[in-house]
Protein backbone atom coordinates (compact mmCIF):
# COMPACT_ATOMS: atom_id res chain seq x y z
CA UNK A 1 0.00 0.00 0.00
CA UNK A 2 1.24 3.46 -0.69
CA UNK A 3 1.11 6.34 1.67
CA UNK A 4 -1.91 7.85 0.03
CA UNK A 5 -2.65 10.63 2.37
CA UNK A 6 -5.45 12.91 1.30
CA UNK A 7 -3.57 15.94 2.52
CA UNK A 8 -0.02 15.19 1.50
CA UNK A 9 0.85 16.31 -1.97
CA UNK A 10 3.96 14.16 -2.17
CA UNK A 11 1.72 11.21 -2.84
CA UNK A 12 0.92 12.29 -6.35
CA UNK A 13 4.13 11.06 -7.87
CA UNK A 14 4.20 7.79 -6.00
CA UNK A 15 0.61 6.95 -6.64
CA UNK A 16 1.29 6.53 -10.33
CA UNK A 17 4.19 4.18 -9.86
CA UNK A 18 2.76 1.82 -7.29
CA UNK A 19 -0.90 1.78 -7.94
CA UNK A 20 -2.81 0.18 -5.12
CA UNK A 21 -4.54 -3.06 -5.92
CA UNK A 22 -6.44 -5.45 -3.80
CA UNK A 23 -7.34 -9.15 -3.93
CA UNK A 24 -4.67 -9.80 -6.54
CA UNK A 25 -4.41 -13.53 -5.88
CA UNK A 26 -8.16 -14.05 -5.65
CA UNK A 27 -8.62 -11.95 -8.76
CA UNK A 28 -6.03 -13.93 -10.68
CA UNK A 29 -7.56 -17.23 -9.64
CA UNK A 30 -11.08 -16.15 -10.53
CA UNK A 31 -9.96 -14.69 -13.84
CA UNK A 32 -8.05 -17.83 -14.69
CA UNK A 33 -11.10 -19.93 -13.90
CA UNK A 34 -13.31 -17.74 -16.04
CA UNK A 35 -10.70 -17.81 -18.80
CA UNK A 36 -10.64 -21.59 -18.85
CA UNK A 37 -14.41 -21.86 -18.88
CA UNK A 38 -14.79 -19.16 -21.51
CA UNK A 39 -12.03 -20.62 -23.65
CA UNK A 40 -13.65 -24.04 -23.60
CA UNK A 41 -17.01 -22.54 -24.49
CA UNK A 42 -15.61 -20.30 -27.22
CA UNK A 43 -13.65 -23.13 -28.83
CA UNK A 44 -16.87 -25.08 -29.06
CA UNK A 45 -18.66 -22.36 -31.00
CA UNK A 46 -19.43 -22.93 -34.68
CA UNK A 47 -16.73 -21.40 -36.84
CA UNK A 48 -18.43 -19.70 -39.72
CA UNK A 49 -19.84 -22.69 -41.56
CA UNK A 50 -23.16 -23.11 -39.80
CA UNK A 51 -26.52 -22.36 -41.35
CA UNK A 52 -28.22 -19.08 -40.66
CA UNK A 53 -30.62 -19.30 -37.78
CA UNK A 54 -34.34 -19.44 -38.38
CA UNK A 55 -34.82 -15.84 -37.27
CA UNK A 56 -32.06 -14.62 -39.53
CA UNK A 57 -33.43 -16.48 -42.52
CA UNK A 58 -36.87 -15.07 -41.84
CA UNK A 59 -35.39 -11.58 -41.73
CA UNK A 60 -33.52 -12.08 -45.00
CA UNK A 61 -36.61 -13.43 -46.74
CA UNK A 62 -39.21 -11.01 -45.44
CA UNK A 63 -37.16 -7.86 -45.62
CA UNK A 64 -37.75 -6.97 -49.26
CA UNK A 65 -41.20 -8.45 -49.94
CA UNK A 66 -43.04 -7.47 -46.79
CA UNK A 67 -41.17 -4.36 -45.66
CA UNK A 68 -39.60 -3.04 -48.89
CA UNK A 69 -36.33 -2.73 -47.00
CA UNK A 70 -32.94 -3.42 -48.51
CA UNK A 71 -31.36 -3.61 -45.05
CA UNK A 72 -32.26 -6.84 -43.27
CA UNK A 73 -30.52 -5.56 -40.15
CA UNK A 74 -33.00 -2.70 -40.03
CA UNK A 75 -35.81 -5.15 -40.54
CA UNK A 76 -34.59 -7.09 -37.52
CA UNK A 77 -34.02 -4.04 -35.35
CA UNK A 78 -37.24 -2.18 -36.02
CA UNK A 79 -39.44 -4.82 -37.61
CA UNK A 80 -39.42 -8.40 -36.43
CA UNK A 81 -37.57 -7.64 -33.20
CA UNK A 82 -39.11 -4.21 -32.78
CA UNK A 83 -40.39 -4.93 -29.32
CA UNK A 84 -36.87 -5.59 -28.10
CA UNK A 85 -35.71 -2.29 -29.54
CA UNK A 86 -38.71 -0.61 -27.95
CA UNK A 87 -37.61 -1.86 -24.54
CA UNK A 88 -34.01 -0.89 -25.25
CA UNK A 89 -35.08 2.64 -26.09
CA UNK A 90 -36.61 3.06 -22.71
CA UNK A 91 -33.65 1.49 -21.01
CA UNK A 92 -31.57 4.19 -22.64
CA UNK A 93 -34.10 6.79 -21.53
CA UNK A 94 -33.98 5.45 -17.98
CA UNK A 95 -30.19 5.67 -18.00
CA UNK A 96 -30.35 9.25 -19.24
CA UNK A 97 -32.84 10.14 -16.53
CA UNK A 98 -30.55 8.55 -13.93
CA UNK A 99 -27.61 10.55 -15.19
CA UNK A 100 -29.63 13.75 -15.06
CA UNK A 101 -30.86 12.98 -11.56
CA UNK A 102 -27.46 12.01 -10.24
CA UNK A 103 -25.66 14.92 -11.81
CA UNK A 104 -28.31 17.43 -10.89
CA UNK A 105 -27.07 20.28 -8.79
CA UNK A 106 -29.19 21.34 -5.91
CA UNK A 107 -30.21 24.58 -7.48
CA UNK A 108 -32.68 25.46 -10.18
CA UNK A 109 -31.03 24.63 -13.46
CA UNK A 110 -30.76 26.95 -16.39
CA UNK A 111 -27.96 25.32 -18.32
CA UNK A 112 -25.66 22.34 -18.42
CA UNK A 113 -22.77 24.62 -17.66
CA UNK A 114 -22.10 27.02 -14.87
CA UNK A 115 -24.01 25.36 -12.10
CA UNK A 116 -23.49 26.69 -8.67
CA UNK A 117 -22.19 25.35 -5.47
CA UNK A 118 -23.76 23.46 -2.63
CA UNK A 119 -22.97 21.37 0.38
CA UNK A 120 -20.81 23.75 2.32
CA UNK A 121 -22.77 23.14 5.48
CA UNK A 122 -22.19 19.38 5.29
CA UNK A 123 -18.52 19.84 4.72
CA UNK A 124 -18.25 22.17 7.68
CA UNK A 125 -19.91 19.56 9.87
CA UNK A 126 -17.92 16.63 8.62
CA UNK A 127 -14.44 17.96 8.33
CA UNK A 128 -14.04 21.58 9.25
CA UNK A 129 -10.31 21.32 9.71
CA UNK A 130 -9.40 19.91 6.34
CA UNK A 131 -6.91 22.22 4.70
CA UNK A 132 -6.62 22.48 0.94
CA UNK A 133 -3.41 21.32 -0.65
CA UNK A 134 -1.78 22.95 -3.63
CA UNK A 135 -3.45 20.73 -6.19
CA UNK A 136 -6.83 21.48 -4.76
CA UNK A 137 -6.10 25.19 -4.75
CA UNK A 138 -5.08 25.04 -8.38
CA UNK A 139 -8.19 23.12 -9.31
CA UNK A 140 -10.36 25.63 -7.47
CA UNK A 141 -8.71 28.53 -9.21
CA UNK A 142 -9.30 26.97 -12.61
CA UNK A 143 -12.86 26.16 -11.71
CA UNK A 144 -13.65 29.62 -10.44
CA UNK A 145 -12.17 31.10 -13.60
CA UNK A 146 -14.46 28.91 -15.63
CA UNK A 147 -17.50 29.70 -13.58
CA UNK A 148 -16.79 33.40 -13.88
CA UNK A 149 -16.76 33.08 -17.60
CA UNK A 150 -19.81 30.91 -17.41
CA UNK A 151 -21.98 33.20 -15.36
CA UNK A 152 -21.19 35.81 -17.92
CA UNK A 153 -22.15 33.72 -20.88
CA UNK A 154 -24.79 31.12 -20.23
CA UNK A 155 -27.39 33.13 -18.38
CA UNK A 156 -30.59 33.76 -20.23
CA UNK A 157 -29.95 36.27 -22.95
CA UNK A 158 -33.08 38.24 -22.03
CA UNK A 159 -32.10 38.72 -18.40
CA UNK A 160 -29.44 41.00 -17.02
CA UNK A 161 -26.65 39.28 -18.90
CA UNK A 162 -25.35 42.58 -20.20
CA UNK A 163 -24.77 44.18 -16.84
CA UNK A 164 -23.16 41.10 -15.33
CA UNK A 165 -21.07 40.76 -18.47
CA UNK A 166 -19.80 44.25 -17.93
CA UNK A 167 -18.95 43.41 -14.34
CA UNK A 168 -17.17 40.21 -15.21
CA UNK A 169 -15.35 41.70 -18.13
CA UNK A 170 -12.30 42.30 -16.03
CA UNK A 171 -12.14 38.75 -14.76
CA UNK A 172 -12.54 37.28 -18.21
CA UNK A 173 -10.14 39.61 -19.95
CA UNK A 174 -7.16 37.31 -19.63
CA UNK A 175 -8.90 34.50 -21.46
CA UNK A 176 -8.60 35.08 -25.19
CA UNK A 177 -11.30 33.86 -27.50
CA UNK A 178 -9.01 31.94 -29.78
CA UNK A 179 -5.41 30.80 -29.37
CA UNK A 180 -4.40 32.06 -32.80
CA UNK A 181 -2.20 34.81 -31.44
CA UNK A 182 -0.57 32.69 -28.77
CA UNK A 183 2.81 31.11 -29.13
CA UNK A 184 2.79 27.48 -30.08
CA UNK A 185 4.13 25.19 -27.40
CA UNK A 186 3.86 27.67 -24.58
CA UNK A 187 3.93 26.45 -21.04
CA UNK A 188 0.94 26.20 -18.82
CA UNK A 189 -2.64 25.26 -19.54
CA UNK A 190 -4.38 26.67 -22.57
CA UNK A 191 -6.48 29.65 -21.72
CA UNK A 192 -8.38 30.23 -24.92
CA UNK A 193 -11.87 28.87 -25.10
CA UNK A 194 -11.74 27.87 -28.75
CA UNK A 195 -9.10 25.87 -30.55
CA UNK A 196 -6.77 27.07 -33.26
CA UNK A 197 -7.90 28.13 -36.71
CA UNK A 198 -6.81 24.86 -38.25
CA UNK A 199 -9.09 22.86 -36.02
CA UNK A 200 -11.89 25.37 -36.35
CA UNK A 201 -11.62 25.20 -40.13
CA UNK A 202 -11.64 21.42 -40.04
CA UNK A 203 -14.66 21.38 -37.77
CA UNK A 204 -16.49 23.84 -40.00
CA UNK A 205 -15.80 21.62 -42.98
CA UNK A 206 -16.52 18.29 -41.37
CA UNK A 207 -19.61 18.94 -39.32
CA UNK A 208 -22.05 19.78 -42.14
CA UNK A 209 -20.93 16.74 -44.10
CA UNK A 210 -21.19 14.53 -41.05
CA UNK A 211 -24.59 15.81 -40.04
CA UNK A 212 -26.09 15.58 -43.51
CA UNK A 213 -24.62 12.15 -44.15
CA UNK A 214 -25.85 10.78 -40.84
CA UNK A 215 -29.36 12.11 -41.27
CA UNK A 216 -29.53 11.09 -44.93
CA UNK A 217 -28.48 7.51 -44.24
CA UNK A 218 -31.08 7.23 -41.52
CA UNK A 219 -33.84 8.88 -43.52
CA UNK A 220 -33.38 6.67 -46.56
CA UNK A 221 -32.84 3.59 -44.48
CA UNK A 222 -29.36 2.81 -45.74
CA UNK A 223 -27.61 2.64 -42.42
CA UNK A 224 -27.80 -0.70 -40.65
CA UNK A 225 -29.23 0.02 -37.27
CA UNK A 226 -30.98 3.17 -38.43
CA UNK A 227 -31.25 5.74 -35.70
CA UNK A 228 -28.64 4.31 -33.37
CA UNK A 229 -25.55 5.13 -35.41
CA UNK A 230 -27.30 8.27 -36.65
CA UNK A 231 -27.81 9.48 -33.10
CA UNK A 232 -24.17 8.83 -32.32
CA UNK A 233 -23.24 10.92 -35.37
CA UNK A 234 -25.40 13.78 -34.07
CA UNK A 235 -23.59 13.61 -30.75
CA UNK A 236 -20.28 13.60 -32.59
CA UNK A 237 -21.24 16.76 -34.46
CA UNK A 238 -22.17 18.55 -31.24
CA UNK A 239 -19.00 17.41 -29.51
CA UNK A 240 -16.85 18.54 -32.44
CA UNK A 241 -18.38 22.00 -32.23
CA UNK A 242 -17.92 21.96 -28.47
CA UNK A 243 -14.28 21.00 -28.70
CA UNK A 244 -13.46 23.32 -31.55
CA UNK A 245 -15.37 26.43 -30.62
CA UNK A 246 -15.71 26.26 -26.88
CA UNK A 247 -18.60 26.09 -24.56
CA UNK A 248 -20.33 29.32 -25.37
CA UNK A 249 -21.13 28.30 -28.89
CA UNK A 250 -22.89 25.10 -27.93
CA UNK A 251 -24.42 26.42 -24.72
CA UNK A 252 -26.85 28.45 -26.80
CA UNK A 253 -28.28 25.31 -28.35
CA UNK A 254 -27.56 22.64 -25.78
CA UNK A 255 -29.91 23.75 -23.06
CA UNK A 256 -31.70 21.32 -20.79
CA UNK A 257 -35.10 22.77 -21.54
CA UNK A 258 -34.71 22.38 -25.30
CA UNK A 259 -32.84 19.09 -25.44
CA UNK A 260 -34.98 17.34 -22.86
CA UNK A 261 -38.14 18.43 -24.65
CA UNK A 262 -36.84 17.04 -27.93
CA UNK A 263 -35.86 13.82 -26.20
CA UNK A 264 -39.33 13.37 -24.76
CA UNK A 265 -40.87 14.18 -28.13
CA UNK A 266 -38.75 11.40 -29.66
CA UNK A 267 -39.89 8.98 -26.99
CA UNK A 268 -43.52 9.95 -27.59
CA UNK A 269 -43.07 9.45 -31.33
CA UNK A 270 -41.73 5.94 -30.75
CA UNK A 271 -44.55 5.03 -28.39
CA UNK A 272 -47.17 6.34 -30.81
CA UNK A 273 -45.55 4.58 -33.77
CA UNK A 274 -45.71 1.25 -32.01
CA UNK A 275 -49.07 1.76 -30.32
CA UNK A 276 -50.87 2.80 -33.51
CA UNK A 277 -50.18 -0.69 -34.81
CA UNK A 278 -52.16 -2.01 -31.86
CA UNK A 279 -55.10 0.27 -32.58
CA UNK A 280 -55.14 0.06 -36.36
CA UNK A 281 -53.82 -3.41 -37.13
CA UNK A 282 -54.50 -5.29 -33.93
CA UNK A 283 -50.96 -6.00 -32.86
CA UNK A 284 -48.27 -3.92 -31.21
CA UNK A 285 -45.61 -2.71 -33.63
CA UNK A 286 -47.52 -3.86 -36.69
CA UNK A 287 -47.00 -1.79 -39.81
CA UNK A 288 -49.81 0.70 -40.35
CA UNK A 289 -48.17 2.93 -42.92
CA UNK A 290 -48.31 2.35 -46.69
CA UNK A 291 -45.11 0.90 -48.13
CA UNK A 292 -43.46 2.81 -50.93
CA UNK A 293 -40.92 1.25 -53.33
CA UNK A 294 -37.55 0.23 -51.84
CA UNK A 295 -34.84 2.83 -51.34
CA UNK A 296 -37.22 5.71 -50.89
CA UNK A 297 -37.66 7.70 -47.75
CA UNK A 298 -40.84 5.96 -46.64
CA UNK A 299 -39.96 2.52 -47.91
CA UNK A 300 -40.11 0.64 -44.64
CA UNK A 301 -43.40 1.97 -43.32
CA UNK A 302 -43.17 2.24 -39.56
CA UNK A 303 -39.59 0.99 -39.65
CA UNK A 304 -38.48 4.33 -40.99
CA UNK A 305 -40.64 6.21 -38.53
CA UNK A 306 -39.30 4.18 -35.63
CA UNK A 307 -35.79 4.69 -36.92
CA UNK A 308 -36.30 8.45 -37.11
CA UNK A 309 -37.69 8.52 -33.60
CA UNK A 310 -34.70 6.52 -32.46
CA UNK A 311 -32.37 9.03 -34.13
CA UNK A 312 -33.92 11.82 -32.08
CA UNK A 313 -33.99 9.74 -28.93
CA UNK A 314 -30.43 8.44 -29.10
CA UNK A 315 -28.94 11.71 -30.32
CA UNK A 316 -30.49 13.88 -27.63
CA UNK A 317 -30.11 11.21 -24.97
CA UNK A 318 -26.39 10.92 -25.55
CA UNK A 319 -26.05 14.71 -25.68
CA UNK A 320 -27.83 15.00 -22.33
CA UNK A 321 -25.70 12.29 -20.74
CA UNK A 322 -22.41 13.64 -22.04
CA UNK A 323 -23.07 17.26 -21.19
CA UNK A 324 -24.53 16.44 -17.81
CA UNK A 325 -21.30 14.58 -17.05
CA UNK A 326 -19.11 17.34 -18.44
CA UNK A 327 -20.87 19.97 -16.41
CA UNK A 328 -21.04 18.21 -13.06
CA UNK A 329 -19.81 20.69 -10.53
CA UNK A 330 -19.00 20.09 -6.92
CA UNK A 331 -22.04 19.21 -4.99
CA UNK A 332 -21.24 17.91 -1.54
CA UNK A 333 -17.70 18.66 -0.68
CA UNK A 334 -16.60 22.11 0.28
CA UNK A 335 -16.16 24.35 -2.70
CA UNK A 336 -14.62 27.50 -1.34
CA UNK A 337 -11.78 27.68 1.07
CA UNK A 338 -12.35 30.68 3.26
CA UNK A 339 -8.89 30.74 4.76
CA UNK A 340 -7.23 31.24 1.43
CA UNK A 341 -5.80 34.67 0.82
CA UNK A 342 -6.43 34.83 -2.90
CA UNK A 343 -10.12 34.17 -3.08
CA UNK A 344 -11.43 37.67 -2.67
CA UNK A 345 -13.00 37.76 -6.08
CA UNK A 346 -14.43 34.30 -5.59
CA UNK A 347 -16.52 35.39 -2.65
CA UNK A 348 -17.55 38.40 -4.67
CA UNK A 349 -18.75 36.13 -7.41
CA UNK A 350 -20.60 34.18 -4.80
CA UNK A 351 -22.56 37.10 -3.53
CA UNK A 352 -23.90 37.79 -6.97
CA UNK A 353 -26.25 34.86 -6.57
CA UNK A 354 -27.88 35.18 -3.19
CA UNK A 355 -31.01 33.42 -4.40
CA UNK A 356 -29.09 30.31 -5.33
CA UNK A 357 -27.32 30.36 -2.00
CA UNK A 358 -30.52 30.44 0.00
CA UNK A 359 -31.91 27.71 -2.19
CA UNK A 360 -28.91 25.60 -1.26
CA UNK A 361 -29.37 26.25 2.38
CA UNK A 362 -33.04 25.36 2.21
CA UNK A 363 -32.24 22.22 0.27
CA UNK A 364 -29.62 21.25 2.79
CA UNK A 365 -31.96 21.51 5.76
CA UNK A 366 -34.08 18.52 4.95
CA UNK A 367 -31.23 16.04 4.96
Amino acid sequence: MTATDERGQRVQGEAIETEPKHRVVVGLLLTAGVAVALGAALLGLPRGRQQLSEVARYAMQSSLPSWHLTEPVNEVVYGSRGFDTFGETFLLLAAVVSVVLLSRPREPRSGYFGEDIAGRREQAEIDPAEAPDSGEREARRAESAESDEESESSDDPDSDADTSAAQKKVAVEHRPKTPDNELVGGRGPEQAEAMSIIIRGAVRTATPILAVTGCYLVAWGYSPGGGFPGGAVILGVVLLVYAGFGRKRVARVVQPKLIETIEMAGAALIILTEAFGLFLKGSFSANWLPLTPPQTIRSGGIVQLFSGGELVEVGTGLIIAVFALLAMSHDWARDKSEDEPDNAEESDANENEPAAQTANAAGGEDQ
Binding site: Q50, S53, M60, L102
Partner: protein, 122 residues
Protein backbone atom coordinates in the same frame (compact mmCIF):
# COMPACT_ATOMS: atom_id res chain seq x y z
CA UNK B 1 -9.54 -18.42 -38.48
CA UNK B 2 -12.54 -16.84 -36.88
CA UNK B 3 -11.63 -18.77 -33.77
CA UNK B 4 -8.88 -16.23 -33.17
CA UNK B 5 -11.59 -13.59 -32.84
CA UNK B 6 -13.38 -15.74 -30.30
CA UNK B 7 -10.24 -16.18 -28.24
CA UNK B 8 -9.40 -12.48 -28.38
CA UNK B 9 -12.93 -11.73 -27.19
CA UNK B 10 -12.40 -14.14 -24.31
CA UNK B 11 -9.06 -12.57 -23.48
CA UNK B 12 -10.50 -9.05 -23.52
CA UNK B 13 -13.30 -10.20 -21.26
CA UNK B 14 -10.82 -11.71 -18.81
CA UNK B 15 -8.68 -8.57 -18.86
CA UNK B 16 -11.75 -6.55 -17.98
CA UNK B 17 -12.72 -8.98 -15.24
CA UNK B 18 -9.24 -8.90 -13.72
CA UNK B 19 -9.33 -5.10 -13.79
CA UNK B 20 -12.68 -5.01 -12.03
CA UNK B 21 -11.55 -7.50 -9.41
CA UNK B 22 -8.17 -6.11 -8.49
CA UNK B 23 -8.06 -2.39 -9.19
CA UNK B 24 -9.01 0.10 -6.54
CA UNK B 25 -9.36 3.14 -8.76
CA UNK B 26 -13.04 3.52 -9.62
CA UNK B 27 -12.35 4.94 -13.06
CA UNK B 28 -10.29 1.87 -13.87
CA UNK B 29 -13.07 -0.35 -12.62
CA UNK B 30 -15.46 1.37 -15.03
CA UNK B 31 -12.88 0.92 -17.77
CA UNK B 32 -12.75 -2.77 -16.93
CA UNK B 33 -16.50 -3.02 -17.27
CA UNK B 34 -16.27 -1.27 -20.64
CA UNK B 35 -13.66 -3.81 -21.72
CA UNK B 36 -16.02 -6.62 -20.79
CA UNK B 37 -18.77 -4.96 -22.81
CA UNK B 38 -16.43 -4.50 -25.75
CA UNK B 39 -15.54 -8.17 -25.73
CA UNK B 40 -19.19 -9.06 -26.23
CA UNK B 41 -19.37 -6.79 -29.28
CA UNK B 42 -16.42 -8.60 -30.80
CA UNK B 43 -17.95 -11.96 -29.97
CA UNK B 44 -21.32 -11.09 -31.53
CA UNK B 45 -19.79 -9.76 -34.70
CA UNK B 46 -17.47 -12.73 -34.99
CA UNK B 47 -20.32 -15.16 -34.49
CA UNK B 48 -22.25 -13.41 -37.26
CA UNK B 49 -19.43 -14.25 -39.68
CA UNK B 50 -19.99 -16.89 -42.34
CA UNK B 51 -17.28 -18.21 -44.60
CA UNK B 52 -17.26 -16.58 -48.01
CA UNK B 53 -20.28 -14.53 -47.10
CA UNK B 54 -21.20 -10.95 -47.80
CA UNK B 55 -22.94 -8.29 -45.77
CA UNK B 56 -26.68 -8.63 -45.22
CA UNK B 57 -27.50 -5.81 -47.61
CA UNK B 58 -29.87 -6.43 -50.47
CA UNK B 59 -28.60 -3.64 -52.73
CA UNK B 60 -26.29 -4.73 -55.56
CA UNK B 61 -24.55 -7.75 -54.02
CA UNK B 62 -20.99 -8.35 -55.22
CA UNK B 63 -19.68 -11.01 -57.52
CA UNK B 64 -22.59 -11.47 -59.87
CA UNK B 65 -24.95 -12.65 -57.17
CA UNK B 66 -28.42 -11.25 -57.03
CA UNK B 67 -30.65 -10.53 -54.09
CA UNK B 68 -32.34 -13.92 -54.33
CA UNK B 69 -29.06 -15.74 -53.76
CA UNK B 70 -28.47 -13.62 -50.72
CA UNK B 71 -31.86 -14.42 -49.32
CA UNK B 72 -31.24 -18.12 -49.63
CA UNK B 73 -27.77 -18.29 -48.47
CA UNK B 74 -24.44 -16.98 -47.66
CA UNK B 75 -24.67 -13.77 -45.65
CA UNK B 76 -23.50 -12.64 -42.27
CA UNK B 77 -26.13 -13.13 -39.60
CA UNK B 78 -28.24 -9.95 -39.34
CA UNK B 79 -29.75 -10.96 -36.01
CA UNK B 80 -26.38 -11.11 -34.28
CA UNK B 81 -25.50 -7.74 -35.77
CA UNK B 82 -28.71 -6.45 -34.25
CA UNK B 83 -27.64 -7.86 -30.89
CA UNK B 84 -24.36 -6.03 -31.23
CA UNK B 85 -26.13 -2.74 -31.91
CA UNK B 86 -28.31 -3.27 -28.86
CA UNK B 87 -25.31 -4.13 -26.74
CA UNK B 88 -23.46 -0.98 -27.80
CA UNK B 89 -26.34 1.28 -26.84
CA UNK B 90 -26.83 -0.47 -23.51
CA UNK B 91 -23.10 -0.30 -22.89
CA UNK B 92 -23.00 3.44 -23.50
CA UNK B 93 -25.97 4.03 -21.23
CA UNK B 94 -24.58 1.90 -18.42
CA UNK B 95 -21.14 3.49 -18.68
CA UNK B 96 -22.69 6.95 -18.46
CA UNK B 97 -24.52 6.02 -15.27
CA UNK B 98 -21.39 4.46 -13.77
CA UNK B 99 -19.29 7.51 -14.55
CA UNK B 100 -21.87 9.83 -13.05
CA UNK B 101 -21.84 7.82 -9.85
CA UNK B 102 -18.04 7.81 -9.83
CA UNK B 103 -17.94 11.60 -10.16
CA UNK B 104 -20.38 11.95 -7.30
CA UNK B 105 -18.36 9.54 -5.16
CA UNK B 106 -15.19 11.45 -5.94
CA UNK B 107 -16.83 14.70 -4.96
CA UNK B 108 -18.26 13.28 -1.78
CA UNK B 109 -15.32 11.26 -0.47
CA UNK B 110 -12.53 13.17 -2.18
CA UNK B 111 -10.99 9.94 -3.37
CA UNK B 112 -11.35 7.42 -6.16
CA UNK B 113 -9.99 4.59 -4.05
CA UNK B 114 -12.65 1.94 -3.67
CA UNK B 115 -11.19 0.79 -0.36
CA UNK B 116 -11.60 4.16 1.26
CA UNK B 117 -15.25 4.54 0.40
CA UNK B 118 -16.44 1.88 2.78
CA UNK B 119 -16.38 4.10 5.79
CA UNK B 120 -19.69 5.79 6.45
CA UNK B 121 -19.57 9.50 6.20
CA UNK B 122 -22.05 12.31 6.01
Amino acid sequence: MIVANYLVAGFVFCAGLYTVLTRRNLIKIVMGLSLMEGSTYLLFISMAYREGSTAPVLVSPPGGRNAHDLVRGNVADPVLQNFCLTAIVIGVAVTAVFLTIVVRIAQHYRTLDADKIRELRG
